[in-house]
Amino acid sequence: MPSMHPLALQPKRIPLMLEVGRQLYRFPGGLRLRHHKQVACQDPLARLPLPERLYLPLVQHQGPAGELQVAAGDRVRRGQPLTRARNDCEVPIHAPAAGRIEAIRPWPVSWPPGTRADCLVLVSDANGEAMPATTLPDWMDAAPERIVEHLRDGGLAGLGGAMFPTAAKLRGDWAAPEIHTLILNGSECEPYIACDEMLMRNRPEAIVRGGMILARALGAENIVIAIEDPMSAVREALEAAAKTVDPSGHCLIAQVSKIYPEGGERQLIQVLTGAEVPHDGLPQDLGLACLNVGTAAAAHDIVIEGRPLSERIVTVSGPAIAKPRNVLAPLGAPIRELIAFAGGPIKAIDRLVLGGPMSGIPLADDSIPIVKGSNCILALGADDTRREQPVMPCINCGECVRVCPASLLPQTLYQAIRGEDHDQARELNVFDCIECGCCAHVCPSHIPLVDYYRHEKGVLRARGIEDARAEQARRRFEAREQRLAEREAERQRKREQREQRLKAREAAKSEVEAAVARARARSGAGDDGAAS
C-alpha cells in the first residue's frame, strides 16, 4: 500500500512563484461606490503655504517613539532628524521646515479618537537653512541592509494609511520565503481619496525608481504597480516612466477593477495572484511585499534626492469643502490650514474624517496635525452623512454576508458580540475583519457593525493582555511562595541543626560532667580512702 504523499503532511503548500498581475481574479463581496475622485484632481497640485506652527507627533507610525534628539528651545534646520530610530520598529521624524522647537506637549491627534499625544511644536521659519542632503547615489550596487538603514533614517513609514515602519517590512521575516515580487499599491479604492492618483500623474518616474530602490532592498526581482480601472492617463504616464527608468522591463502595470475594497492589501493580492494571504501570515508567505506608491516616491526622495520624509500629498475633499483639491503639505500642518487652503467650508462640517468615507477615522478637532499616513481630509455636512437614525434589530437579511470581502458572517458576529460571547466572536474570525465598512454601509437596520468589530477586537486584545498578566502574576506568586517555603524550610533545617548541635553539646557537656563527676567520685573516694 503506498504511503501518504509527503506533501500531504504539510498544512498548506504555497506556490514558490506566483504569477502576479498577469491575470486578474475576483475577490468575494465588495461594493461599487461612486468615486468622487475627479473633483479633487481638477486643480493642479499646490504646495500649502508654510504654517506658522507645525505640530509633530513623536509617534507617526505603528510602534514606539524614537529617541528624542532635540529639546524645547532648540533651533532646527529643515530636514533635521528630531528623533532617532534605535531599531526597525522605531521611525524617526524630521523637521519639515527650519525653525525653533517651542515646546513638547500633548496636542490633539487622530488616534485614538478624541485623545492627545506628545507633539513637538515647531515655530517655522521660511528663511531658515536646510540640512545638507544625504543621498545614496550608489544604491544600485549597495547592500540591501544599507538601503534599508538609509530609508529608516529617512523616516519612511507606510504612506497608505497604516504607517507600518517600512524598514521592518523591507527587512522581512527571515523564516518566511524570499520575496520575489514587490506590489506597489496605487489602487485607491475608497471614494474621494485622490492623493495617489495625483502623485502617479505628477511623478511617475519617482514612483518607478522608488519601486526599484525598494525592490533592491527587498531582493525582489519584479515590480507590479496596481492602478484602478478608470486611470488610463495614469497608466500611460507610468508605462512611459517604466520604459525610461527601467528598460529591462521588470516593472508591470496592472489595471484592477474599481470595486471597493480592492485596494486593501489582502484583497489586492487576491486580485493580482488568485492566492490568499494566510490569516495568521503575511504577504511574505506568498513571496510578496505590498507597499503604497506614495511610499515608493518617498523612498526615491530619500535615496536619490536626500530629502527625508517630511511632507506628503493630502486630498482635501468632501461636499463641505469649497474647492476640493490635492495639497502638498508639510507633516505637522494642522488640518484647519489645509481646509482653509481648499477654500474653506461651504457648510457646517458635521463630520471631519481622516481617510475615506468608508473606513476613515472621525476627528474631534480641526487642530489635529497631518502625519505620514494622512491621505485625505474629508469634510461632510449633516446631510451627506449618516443621519441620526435609530438602530433597528438585525433582520438577518444577509446583505452584509454578500458584501464582506473577507467572507465573514457579519450578522452572526454581531449577535455574538452583543451577547458578549467572546469565544464565539474569536471563532467567527473577528480578527480577520479588515474594517472596510461594506457591511455597515449596506445594513438596512443601520447597525454600526464596524464599531462592534473594532470594539470586540479591543476587548479580545485587552483580555489577552489581562490573561498574560494574570499568568505572569500567578507564576511570580508561585515562585515567591516557593522561595518563601524554601527559605522557611532552610530556616527550619538550620534551627534543627542548631538544636541538634545544642543537644549534642548538651549531651557532650553532660557526658563530660558525668565523667568529671565520676572521676571526682572516684578520686573523692580515693582521697577519702587516702585520707581516711
Partner: protein
C-alpha cells in the same frame, strides 16, 4: 395485561442500562479535584490581594473547590469573574460579596521616591515580587508586574505609596444609547463604556 408488564419490564431494563452506563461514565470522566482547582485558579485574576480572606488566589481556588469558600469573594475579578466561576462550577451566579471589597478599575502602585526611606517593608509585603530596592535605599515598583493588590500600602511607615489607574489599551467605544431601538438586547457594559469614552 401481559403487554403492560412487558412494556414495564422493557422500561425498567432500559432505565437500568442507561443509568448504569451514565454512572460508569460519570465515574470514569469525573473531574479530579486538582484540575478543578487549576480551572478555578485560571479564572481568578491572580491579583494575590487576599481580599477573599485567603492568602492568594490559589488558596482561594482550593477553598472554593473544597467548598470552604463561596464564589463571590473576589473583588478584583468582579461580577464577570463570579459569572465565569458560576459557569464553570454549574452554580447560580450571585452578586459580589461587598464585605470583601468593591470591584475597582485595575491599578498599579507608585512609590513617591522622594519620601521613601528604604525600609523594605513593602518589598516583604508584595505577593508577586514587583518591588525592588535595598535597605536604606529608595524602592521602586515594576509597573508591569504590579497586580494592584494594595498589600504594600498598610506596612509603609511614611505613606509614600499611591495607587494610580493602570494605563488601559484603547478599546473602540460602542455608542449604544437611546439611538438603539434594540437596546434591550445590548451588552450590559456597552452604554457605560461609551459614556466614559465621551468624558
Amino acid at each position: 395485561m401481559t403487554e403492560i408488564l412487558i412494556a414495564g419490564l422493557v422500561m425498567l431494563v432500559l432505565l437500568g442500562t442507561i443509568g448504569g452506563v451514565l454512572t460508569v461514565l460519570a465515574r470514569r470522566f469525573a473531574a479530579d479535584e486538582d484540575s478543578v482547582i487549576e480551572q478555578i485558579n485560571a479564572i481568578l485574576p491572580q491579583t494575590q490581594c487576599g481580599q477573599c480572606d485567603f492568602p492568594g488566589c490559589r488558596p482561594y481556588a482550593e477553598a472554593i473547590a473544597e467548598g470552604r469558600a463561596d464564589i463571590n469573594q473576589c473583588p478584583p475579578g468582579g461580577e464577570a469573574g463570579v459569572r465565569a466561576l458560576a459557569d464553570l462550577l454549574g452554580r447560580e451566579p450571585k452578586p459580589l460579596d461587598t464585605r470583601h471589597g468593591e470591584h475597582k478599575a485595575p491599578r498599579v502602585a507608585v512609590i513617591d521616591e522622594d519620601r521613601c526611606i528604604g525600609c523594605k517593608l513593602c518589598i516583604q509585603a508584595c505577593p508577586v515580587d514587583a518591588i525592588v530596592g535595598a535597605p536604606k535605599l529608595m524602592h521602586t515598583v515594576i509597573a508591569d508586574e504590579c497586580t494592584g493588590c494594595d498589600l504594600c500600602l498598610p506596612p509603609c511607615p511614611v505613606d509614600c505609596i499611591d495607587m494610580v489607574p493602570r494605563r488601559q489599551p484603547f478599546i473602540w467605544p460602542l455608542a449604544i444609547g437611546e439611538q438603539d431601538a434594540d437596546a434591550e438586547h445590548a451588552p450590559a457594559g456597552a452604554a457605560t463604556e461609551a459614556n466614559t469614552a465621551d468624558a
